[in-house]
């Protein structure tokens, strides 16, 4: 198995024939008192073993909802209206809730933004890690404890034997996030989805957590989906990037190509509006206006109202994807011309 996946990951750079996890044409709607709103509109994503897919977008662009929907974790008002979620040859949208529960936390795991909210305050950290080991791997309590302590060591929690018995409030933010990661990797998942894993943390701790995630990815040969709004984090940790805007993927590219030569006007705008620590700019070039709320999503290009290059072709129909290379595509009628 491990041999197979290693060869796959090296091939992945050339051609991604069979990705480990693939979202095809996924659409999600939410029922609200004011009617039905579509928050995710025909999203395609894929990630292969050993790779990190960075999913970047502003708040409300649908990046979290896409992943939650793929794992059947939508809130009661959310519905998937179309699409397939292929994981290891199975469609996750078709399997029963029981099978899904077996899969989640075992083969697919998730890490969320705020560790303090995700952890149960009245159970010890050790108990919470052991729980999934007993449940998914059928370990005895003693065995689970031994393994949990190993996991705490693995994610870099010092003095793991004593900390096993401590409660979440005794952990700092960074340590809790490490504990959450320990829990997520407890069953050696093939896919880890990290939803803004470092947003609530200080920069020095963020650097530590990103390093930990990339080490673990290599060690366990996982596929990693990193959801974030921070292009700095993307540049730091992702192999491939999908840029989302207003419920759609607008550009997909390997990380170097994206930062060297963004093609979608939105990606370009986003990159040039970033304040940079490594250079002084006289004035930030802001994108005018704000991203539309889901109630105001249009069929045509949703960036049109803020874009300086739009014309009649942009409205009315959804801009189709232009395939640039095997790993790169863009949905823009007037992509940025490279200089």
């Amino acid at each position: 198995m491990s041999n197979a996946t290693t060869s796959q990951s090296s091939e992945a750079q050339v051609a991604t024939d069979t990705p480990l996890f693939e979202i095809r044409d996924l659409s999600v709607v939410f029922d609200t008192p004011d009617g039905t709103v579509q928050v995710v509109d025909s999203v395609d994503l894929k990630v292969s073993a050993g790779r990190t897919l960075g999913l970047v977008g502003e708040s409300g662009s649908g990046k979290s909802v896409t992943c939650l929907a793929a794992l059947g974790l939508l809130a009661a008002r959310g519905r998937v209206t179309s699409g397939q979620v292929m994981f290891n040859g199975r469609d996750l949208l078709k399997i029963s809730e029981e099978e899904m529960a077996k899969l989640r936390g075992c083969e697919v795991a998730m890490v969320f933004q705020d560790p303090m909210v995700s952890l149960n305050p009245v159970k010890t950290i050790g108990w919470q890690i052991s729980e999934s080991l007993c449940l998914h791997q059928g370990l005895s309590q003693g065995g689970a404890k031994k393994r949990a302590i190993e996991l705490l060591d693995m994610v870099g929690i010092p003095n793991s034997k004593n900390r096993y018995g401590e409660y979440p409030h005794q952990f700092s933010g960074g340590m809790s996030q490490r504990a959450m990661i320990a829990m997520a990797i407890a069953c050696q998942p093939k896919l880890l989805i990290a939803d803004e894993p470092t947003t609530a943390l200080d920069v020095t701790i963020q650097a530590q957590i990103l390093e930990l995630l990339s080490d673990l990815k290599k060690e366990l040969d996982m596929a990693l989906i990193l959801i974030t709004h921070d292009l700095g984090v993307i540049a730091e940790a992702a192999d491939d990037v999908a840029v989302m805007y207003a419920g759609r993927v607008v550009e997909e590219a390997p990380v170097l190509e994206l930062f060297d030569a963004p093609l979608h006007q939105y990606t370009l705008g986003l990159l040039s509006s970033l304040p940079r620590i490594d250079r002084t700019v006289e004035r930030l070039s802001a994108i005018e206006g704000a991203a539309p709320p889901p109630q105001e999503f249009v069929t045509g290009c949703r960036f049109e109202a803020r874009c300086g290059h739009c014309d009649d072709t942009c409205s009315g129909t959804r801009p189709p994807f232009t395939k640039i290379s095997a790993t790169r595509r863009v949905a823009c009628m007037h992509p940025v011309k490279s200089t």
Partner: protein, 345 residues
């Protein structure tokens, strides 16, 4: 604009708007035992700096380092345990209520979360107008005129005046908060993580707005944030805080291009740069900031510092001027000059 101020500082000594000296603030912790003493957290431990008229001073640090507490103390929203804050020649910590009322017009605060700072039941227009009502400025017509003018200054369309906060987007809400803070023309504005909650594209708009308004109205900003990239863009000078003390203070470029304190270096190298080619050049520091209830002896950074020795573990380093206008609190700062510049590009 930065250059304009730089040349000013060389030609004439800039006017000092506010002098903060040896500010200390302790918090008393919760009772953990019926008989035992309650622990004291040293949130602010002797902070001193000057704010020059018309400049932006960036105050950066990780959560819990005391940057927001400093902001509240200099606005007299909280009483310091000791120390003084001199604003326009008066120590504001000793003012009586009446003197304070007229003084507080000169200083305003803009918070991180605009929706939390706005009243959900009042229209935008009446909220922006409220400071004028409170301070009794002008008659009704004049007030309305000032509100309209301010609304235009923060580039909001006039039809939003009758709306309620929840009907506005995050960026628009923050513009309203800024308009409300600036309408009584204060001299000093403390921005506490004012742009941190906004998406990057909107963040850039608000940062540009703050810079424009500063030029137009001659404001002085104390810009509190954890985001070093934003602070480089907006500040003339930057102060780095760690566990209740300022550890380094210098002009923005100097501080970011040639940091002297090991903590500043670690902080800068931890910031993810939006350039995938800059990967792997970083040195991450181990560990986490110490607990203010139980601060280490000597330099607060000693447990995480690669240069720490016995002196660092026992003696508190002085905050001293090492180069021109470059203050640093580290025993080894001299040895670090010019050496190990963090690799940014």
């Amino acid at each position: 604009m930065k250059k304009a101020i730089d040349t000013n500082t060389k030609a004439v000594k800039p006017e000092i708007l506010m002098e903060v000296r040896d500010l200390v603030r302790h918090f008393i912790g919760p009772r953990t035992s019926f008989f035992g003493k309650r622990k004291i957290a040293h949130a602010i431990n002797g902070v001193s700096f000057d704010l020059y008229a018309g400049e932006t001073l960036g105050l950066v640090g990780e959560s819990g380092c005391g940057k927001s507490t400093t902001g509240q103390l200099i606005l007299n929203l909280m009483e310091p345990t000791s120390g003084s804050v001199t604003f326009l020649g008066k120590d504001i910590t000793t003012l009586n209520k009446q003197e304070w009322r007229s003084m507080r017009r000169e200083m305003q605060l803009v918070f991180q979360n605009p929706l939390g700072a706005l009243n959900p039941r009042l229209t935008i227009g009446s909220q922006i107008r409220e400071p004028l009502d409170i301070h009794n400025i002008g008659d009704a017509d004049e007030r309305n005129a000032i509100v309209l003018e301010m609304f235009e200054a923060v580039s909001l369309p006039p039809h939003l005046l009758e709306r309620y906060p929840h009907q506005l987007s995050g960026g628009q809400q923050q513009r309203v908060v800024i308009a409300r803070a600036l309408i009584i023309s204060p001299k000093l504005v403390v921005c506490d993580e004012s742009v941190s909650a906004l998406d990057v594209s909107v963040q850039a708009q608000v940062v540009n707005l703050l810079v424009d308004l500063q030029k137009k109205l001659g404001l002085t900003y104390l810009f509190i944030t954890h985001d070093l990239s934003v602070v480089r863009h907006i500040s003339n000078r930057i102060a780095v805080m760690y566990l209740g003390r300022i550890v380094e203070l210098a002009d923005s470029e100097t501080l970011l291009e040639n940091p002297l304190h090991p903590y500043t270096r670690a902080l800068i190298s931890a910031v993810p740069v939006p350039d995938p080619r800059a990967r792997a050049s970083r040195a991450t520091i181990k560990g986490e900031p110490p607990n203010p209830f139980n601060p280490p002896s000597g330099c607060a950074f000693n447990a995480r510092c690669p240069h720490a020795d016995d002196k660092c573990r026992t003696v508190l380093p002085d905050f001293r001027e090492l180069a021109e206008k470059h203050m640093v609190a580290c025993h080894h700062a001299e040895a670090l000059v010019g050496n190990q510049k963090p690799n940014l590009s």
